[in-house]
C-alpha cells in the first residue's frame, strides 16, 4: 500500500512535463525511502533519473516496493487537472492495476480524484556510479536554457569547453558559428544568478543540442542547474528539487569527427 501526500502538486506536474518529451513509458519505483524513476530515451543515449525523497511528502507511507508503470502522456493528462497550489495524494495498492491521484485545493473546498490505469513495463536499470567530475558548473537554469535554445537555432551540436577562464558553449552550423562564454560570478543581492565553476582539469566535449534543449524543460523546477563534465563520460545535468530530491539527466557525449 502506497500513500504519499505532496503539498505542491506542481512539483510532480513539472517533473512529468520535463521528462515526458524524453521518455514515453516508465516505472515509478516506490519504496520506503521515496519515489524513484529511471528511464532512457528510445535511442538509449540519454537517461533521466528522478528521486523524490520520503521527506518531501507529508505523510509518506509505503509498506512494500511497488512499481507503477505509467504512460507519461496519460499521466500528463491527469496532472493537467491539478491547479498550481493543489495538494496531491498518490495512492496505490500493493499489486496495483491503477494509481489513484487525489487533488485537494488548498482551501479544501474542491476535491478531484482520478484513477490512472497502469501498465507492465520491462525496463533495464543501470547502476550509476558516483563520479568525480573534472568540471562542475552551477548556473541559473534560465541562462542555460537560453544558451541551449539560441545555439540550437544554428547547429545540431554544441561544444562545451571548461577552462580556468570560464565555460564556453560554441557551435558551428551551416549558416555560421557562434559561442557564449560565461565566467564565474557571485552576486550577494541575487544569489540565484550566481555562476560557479569548479575545475580540476580543463575539459572539452560535444553534445547534441536537441537533447539539451529537452533537458532544459526542467528549468521551471529550480532556479539553478548543475552541469557536470568529464571527458569520456556522460554529461550530468542536475536540477535540485526541495530537500535532497533531485531530477538528473545524463547524456552521452558525441565522439568522432562528424560534428
Amino acid at each position: 500500500m502506497l500513500e504519499a501526500r505532496l503539498e505542491q502538486a506542481s512539483i510532480l506536474k513539472k517533473v512529468v512535463d520535463a521528462i515526458k518529451d524524453l521518455v514515453q513509458d516508465c516505472n515509478f519505483d516506490c519504496n520506503d525511502s521515496g519515489i524513484a524513476l529511471q528511464a532512457m530515451d528510445n535511442s538509449h543515449v540519454a537517461l533521466v533519473s528522478m528521486m523524490l525523497k520520503a521527506e518531501g511528502f507529508s505523510p509518506y507511507r509505503c509498506d512494500r516496493n511497488i512499481a507503477l508503470g505509467v504512460n507519461l502522456t496519460s499521466l500528463t493528462k491527469v496532472l493537467r487537472a491539478a491547479q498550481g497550489d493543489d495538494i496531491l495524494t498518490i495512492k496505490a495498492e500493493d499489486a496495483p492495476d491503477v494509481m489513484n491521484l487525489l487533488f485537494e485545493s488548498s482551501g479544501e473546498d474542491r476535491i478531484s480524484e482520478y484513477d490512472l490505469k497502469l501498465m507492465d513495463i520491462d525496463q533495464e536499470h543501470l547502476g550509476i556510479p558516483e563520479t568525480e567530475y573534472a568540471a562542475t558548473i552551477t548556473m541559473p537554469s534560465a541562462e542555460f536554457r537560453r544558451i541551449c535554445t539560441d545555439l540550437a537555432a544554428m547547429s545540431e551540436s554544441v561544444g562545451i569547453e571548461a577552462s580556468k577562464d570560464g565555460v564556453k558553449f560554441s557551435c558551428n552550423g551551416d549558416i555560421g558559428n557562434g559561442s557564449v562564454t560565461l565566467r564565474s560570478h557571485t552576486s550577494i543581492d541575487k544569489p540565484e544568478l550566481n555562476v560557479d565553476i569548479e575545475l580540476t582539469e580543463p575539459v572539452s566535449l560535444t553534445f547534441s543540442l536537441k537533447y539539451l534543449v529537452n533537458f532544459c524543460k526542467a528549468a521551471a523546477l529550480s532556479n539553478q542547474v548543475k552541469i557536470c563534465l568529464s571527458s569520456e563520460v556522460p554529461l550530468l545535468v542536475e536540477y535540485n528539487l526541495s530537500g535532497s530530491s533531485y531530477l538528473r539527466f545524463y547524456l552521452a557525449p558525441k565522439i568522432g569527427d562528424d560534428e
Binding site: 524524453l22 521518455v23 537517461l47 543501470l126 547534441s208 537533447y211 565522439i255 562528424d258
Partner: protein, 432 residues
C-alpha cells in the same frame, strides 16, 4: 438391424450406478454426479461376450475405447453429435420390459434426460490398424531414414504397443481374436515359419496395396456427401466464367446438392451420385436433394470454364479416400511415406491425369483472379481476400495511431535526432 441400449451393456458398474440414481430420483432430486449415461448403437452380430476395452489408438497411441467381440472382431466408436449451436438431449425411457431393468432388478419407470446429445455407433475396424504402429515400429525408426525391421513373432510385435491401460493382452486370450489379428498381420507382412511359430516383418508394398484396396472400395461405394462436397467437388470445381456469373448464386444456394462438380457425362455422374445417396441414407445422414442436382448441372455445363472427366473425379475420390484412411488410422510418420509412395510415380495408380487437371485448374484460377483484380465493374463486391487485406491495413493504421497518441511530440522528435557518434548509456553505466 441394430438395437439401442441406454447404458454401456458390458460394464456392470456404471449401469448399476445409473440405476441407483434413477430409483432415487423418484423420491427426491439428487444432484447428478458422475458421467451422464451415453447412448450406444452396437452391432447386432456382436455376441453378448463383447466387451468395451481400452486399446491404444493407432494414430495417436493414446488410449481409446473400442468394442471387442471374441467372434466378430473389433469395432471402433464413432461419435455422432449435433453441432454446439443446436443443443439436443436424449430422453431415455427405461421400460420395465427392457433387458437392463430386468437384469438389475430396478423397479419403476425411471426415464431420464441426458444433457449430451451424442450417439456412439460401433463400426467394424480392421484390427490391422491397431497393430500397425507396432509393425511399423514408429518410435524406433525415428531419426534413421530407412528403418531396419526384423522378423518377429506376433507377441514380440504386440509388446511394442503402449501397455498402460491397454486391454490388448486380455483380448488376445480369445483365440478367434488372436487368429484374426495374426491373419490381418500376415496380409501386410512378409512371414516366415520358425519352428511352430510364425514370424512377421512389415512389407510396405503390401501395406500400400492393402490400404489402396480399402480406399478403392471406399471411393467406389461413394464417399459421404459432406466429404465428397468438400474434398472432391470443391477441389475440382473450376471457376465460373465471368460473363455468365449470375448463375453462380444458383450454385452456391444449393450447398447440399452434393454434385456441383462440373461433369459433362451426366449418365456416369448421376450413377455415382445416386449410389452415394443410397449409401448416405442407409447410414442415416442428411439426404441430398436429387432434384436440384440435375438443374444445377444443366446450368453448369454452360458456365464452367473447365470440366473434370469422370475418370478424374474417380481419381480424386480415390485420393481423398486414401488420405482419409491415412489421416484417421495410420501413425503420422508412416502416413507420410505411404502418401508419397501412393501418389508418386510407381504407385499403384497413375495420377498424372488428375495432376494435369489440377495444374491447369490452378492456372485458370490465378488468371481469373488477375482478371477480377483489374475489373472495375466489380468494385462493389470485392473479393474476401481484398477485404481482409484492407481490414488488416486499417487495423495496422489504427494501432499506429494509438501508439502515436501515447507518445508525446518531444519523444517523436527525438527519434529524428542524429545520434551518430553517441554511445549508448549502457556503455558507460553497468546494468544492475
Amino acid at each position: 438391424m441394430a438395437r439401442t441400449r441406454s447404458a454401456k451393456p458390458s460394464t456392470a458398474a456404471p449401469a448399476a450406478d445409473t440405476d441407483s440414481i434413477k430409483s432415487k430420483s423418484a423420491i427426491t432430486l439428487v444432484p447428478h454426479t458422475g458421467e451422464p449415461p451415453k447412448v450406444f448403437i452396437l452391432p447386432s452380430k456382436a455376441t453378448p461376450e463383447a466387451r468395451i476395452v481400452t486399446l491404444p489408438n493407432p494414430r495417436t497411441s493414446q488410449p481409446a475405447r473400442y468394442l471387442a467381440c471374441p467372434d466378430t472382431g473389433i469395432y471402433e466408436f464413432k461419435r455422432i453429435a449435433a453441432p454446439k449451436s443446436e443443443p439436443r438431449s436424449w430422453l431415455i425411457e427405461a421400460t420395465p420390459t427392457s433387458n437392463e431393468s430386468k437384469a438389475s432388478g430396478a423397479a419403476g419407470p425411471g426415464s431420464q434426460v441426458t444433457m449430451g446429445s451424442e450417439l456412439f455407433v460401433a463400426t467394424a475396424l480392421d484390427p490391422l490398424f491397431l497393430v500397425l504402429p507396432a509393425l511399423a515400429d514408429v518410435k524406433a525408426s525415428k531419426g534413421s531414414k530407412k528403418p531396419k525391421r526384423l522378423f518377429l513373432s506376433s507377441d514380440d510385435h504386440l509388446d511394442k504397443l503402449p501397455q498402460e491401460s491397454s486391454h490388448l493382452s486380455d483380448i488376445l486370450r480369445w483365440d478367434a481374436t488372436r487368429r484374426l489379428i495374426e491373419s490381418r498381420m500376415s496380409a501386410v507382412c512378409d512371414a516366415v515359419d520358425a519352428g511352430d511359430e510364425q514370424m512377421f516383418r512389415l512389407n510396405e508394398d503390401k501395406l500400400l496395396e492393402a490400404i489402396y484396396q480399402k480406399a478403392k472400395r471406399m471411393s467406389e461405394g461413394g464417399l459421404p456427401p459432406s466429404m465428397e462436397d468438400k474434398f472432391v467437388n470443391k477441389v475440382l470445381e473450376a471457376p465460373l466464367m465471368h460473363r455468365v456469373v449470375r448463375t453462380e448464386s444458383q450454385v452456391t444456394s444449393n450447398p447440399d446438392s452434393g454434385t456441383s462438380t462440373p461433369q459433362t457425362d451426366s449418365a456416369t455422374s448421376q450413377s455415382t451420385v445416386s449410389s452415394a445417396e443410397t449409401d448416405a441414407s442407409s447410414v442415416s445422414q442428411t439426404s441430398t436433394a436429387a432434384t436440384s442436382v440435375a438443374e444445377v448441372q444443366a446450368d453448369e455445363s454452360i458456365v464452367s470454364a473447365l470440366q473434370a472427366s469422370p475418370e478424374i473425379v474417380q481419381l480424386q475420390k480415390l485420393k481423398t479416400a486414401f488420405e482419409f484412411i491415412c489421416a484417421s488410422y495410420v501413425p503420422p510418420e508412416l502416413a507420410d511415406t505411404l502418401k508419397q509412395s501412393f501418389t508418386g510415380t510407381g504407385g499403384p495408380v497413375d495420377f498424372s491425369l488428375l495432376n494435369d487437371y489440377i495444374a491447369s485448374l490452378e492456372k485458370l484460377r490465378s488468371e481469373m483472379l488477375a482478371v477480377r483484380a483489374q475489373d472495375y465493374s466489380r468494385k462493389r463486391n470485392m473479393d474476401e481476400e481484398e477485404d481482409e487485406a484492407r481490414m488488416e491495413k486499417k487495423r495496422k493504421m489504427e494501432e499506429e495511431k494509438k501508439k502515436k497518441a501515447s507518445e508525446s511530440r518531444g519523444v517523436r522528435e527525438l527519434k529524428k535526432v542524429n545520434t551518430s557518434g553517441m554511445k549508448k548509456l549502457s556503455h558507460f553505466f553497468q546494468k544492475k
